[in-house]
Amino acid sequence: MELTTVWFVLIAGLWIGYFVLEGFDFGVGMLLRVLGRDEPERRAVVTTIGPVWDGNEVWLIVAGAMTFAAFPEWYATLFSGFYLPLFAILVSLILRGVALEYRGKRDDLVWRSRMDWLITVGSVVPALLWGITFANLVRGVPLDASHEFVGTLGDLLNPFALLGGVTFVAVFVAHGAIFLALRTTDDLRQRANRLASGTGLVAVVLAAAFLAWAQSLRGDATSAVVAAAAAVALVVGLVANRLRREGLAFAGTALAIGLAVASLFVAMFPAVMPSTLDPAGTLTTVNAASTPYTLKVLTIIAAIFTPLVLLYQGWTYWVFRKRVTVEPVAVEAEP
């Protein structure tokens, strides 16, 4: 395999890792005020993602940095072209990160309630905008012959992209609910399970529509098979959820997200940013790539350190594998 193809696969892998992992913590964030009815419950809900959300977000940072290093043209066009959505994602992630870290630093219900709102909004907005962004990547955007984005914000907010945004939100809600059912106990666990069933149906319908539309826009037999596999995995996950097989249910939604994102990348390949204008404007794994030397250096680095990262991130999930119980907590209203 060409090194440029290897790096296309690796970067797709980083985005898959990001959406599978941050997908459930976005979902948990969106459900924080829905499933958590009082402070002890909300605290339990936040604690399920407490030790891991920051590490999950690093997948995004590394995906960005690796794209910069391996495909500078892709990084440059994507980040400057999707300027305003990325700005909104940054603002949301900043507010969310600060709120997650600061909510427990004060024993004050008003403070915590405010932080919970920020966590909710900070989870919905990036999920929606990542959906819009990835839908546009597949659909193609107006790029001129020098690979410069010449569209407007309006071009990015087309119906297909909006469906992509809503689909990401719905799938992450179901993924998050299933994660919560897996990680909590008693009443909270039951409610998370029921919520996953209901929201899961919506997610299946939206995901099927979005993936089918994506295939009709750009795709081949391989990407269609991968997309179909994603749909099957999602259905299996939801059936397992009905049967209270929580581990299997989570594996199902995780696999579904991974396969769905993979199908989008497969559909695009060998383009990384198809142009809707001049075909010469299309960025591909070849014309967007760094030199073979740089890709070789990056490959050696990734080959050594990625297994290490997977090992210690996996260990974190093992350390915090026990379910989180709802504990009465002594929190006073501000005097």
Partner: protein, 468 residues
Amino acid sequence: MDTLDLARWQFAITTVYHFFFVPVTISLVAITAGLQTAWYRTGKEKYLRLTKFYGKLFLINIAMGVVTGLVQEFQFGMNWSDYSRFVGDVFGAPLALEGLLAFFLESTFIGLWIFGWDRLPRRIHLACIWMVVLGTQLSAYFILAANSWMQNPVGFRYNAERGRAELTDIWAVLTNKVVLVTYPHTIFAAFMVGGAFVAGVAIWHLVRRPGVDTGAFRTALRLGAVIVIAAGAGVALSGDQQGKVMTEVQPMKMAAAEALYESEKPASFSIFTVGTLDGSREVFSVKVPYVLSFLATGHFDGEVKGINSLQQSYEQLYGPGSYKPNIPLTYWTFRLMIGVGMAAAAIAVWLLWATRRGRAPNRLLVWLALPLPLLPLFANVFGWVFTETGRQPWLVFGLLPTSSGVSPGTTSGEVLTSLLGFTVLYGVLAVVEMKLMFRTIRGGLAGTSPAPEPDGPDDADKPLSFAY
């Protein structure tokens, strides 16, 4: 203002703001790890309580560092896409190393450390915070290697056909002589801030809460002061090395730092210089003979090139145009960096003397609690403003002018939106963060619980008071 100016302002504001949190993070995590190691070794409870107290302050601080760091990585592509296209082949590699080696390490082990107090064996839990320390050090090294390449590009060739710099030797980039002197300088400077922060908080408690946890805060005060003094010595020595490298690779920056208009042999160090507004000659100055020659070249009679002769030679090399940075800005930030850094070290010496052999500190010393950490923090900021504006008009020295790096397709309206958005957001967050910091500092060691024993295997997870 056009897109270029707005993008530059945005980079300056978001980067300086980000760097308010970086030095505290780098040093406070290491100090916290040191305190926890002391507890692990001695079993003394005061070390445990100090670990938890300063650890909580570290967490409040790093949360801001992490989220504002996200902006840094996106910003290269958003506002500086032509820069990204030009340098990505070279500059991307250290960034990728930073993400893969440092950020994963930091974020994962910080989660383990926060939530692992009662879940991990003590030795493993202690190892977790040291892994975070390792992560911050790696992160600092890689990002400084990337920045050093912009000051002194090495290990690359210029591909005229693609119009970009291409990596030929990653080892040369990672062992750039600029990063070898900049890394220790930056780390020592960070420890001045962290040491001063620890000491500043401690002096406030000793004076304002007499009799409450006096023993622990005395330890913290003296530890912090010693760190400031030791790191100050390190800053001075590494800064001296850095001056010599800078004279060699970026002589214009050294000349601008000194407002040295004409070449001198031997050159004098300027205490105070006023130049004409267009920056072409000096009007009045106070100087110490031979000192600049020594700082720049290591010899008392070495020649130091002046701004005007460098301008002439750069015109011959790169074509017509101005190759001078903003001279008043570089001149004053260079001086302020040295001045306020030395003031912090002096305060630390004073505090150590005032609390010698068990003496209780004078009540008036509480007024030093706030300036003590702020002085080295601003020395850090002045240093960065100096070194980055001193590189101008180049984005990558000798290769890419700043004006050629900005995103061609991005509108000034978009950049203005994000500039205003980040500025307002950062302003609000600064208030929230400061209030939370002061609140936590005032709370003192009272909120720190003794170490719980690790859970038995059957217990369900309980939310921890230390965390969320």
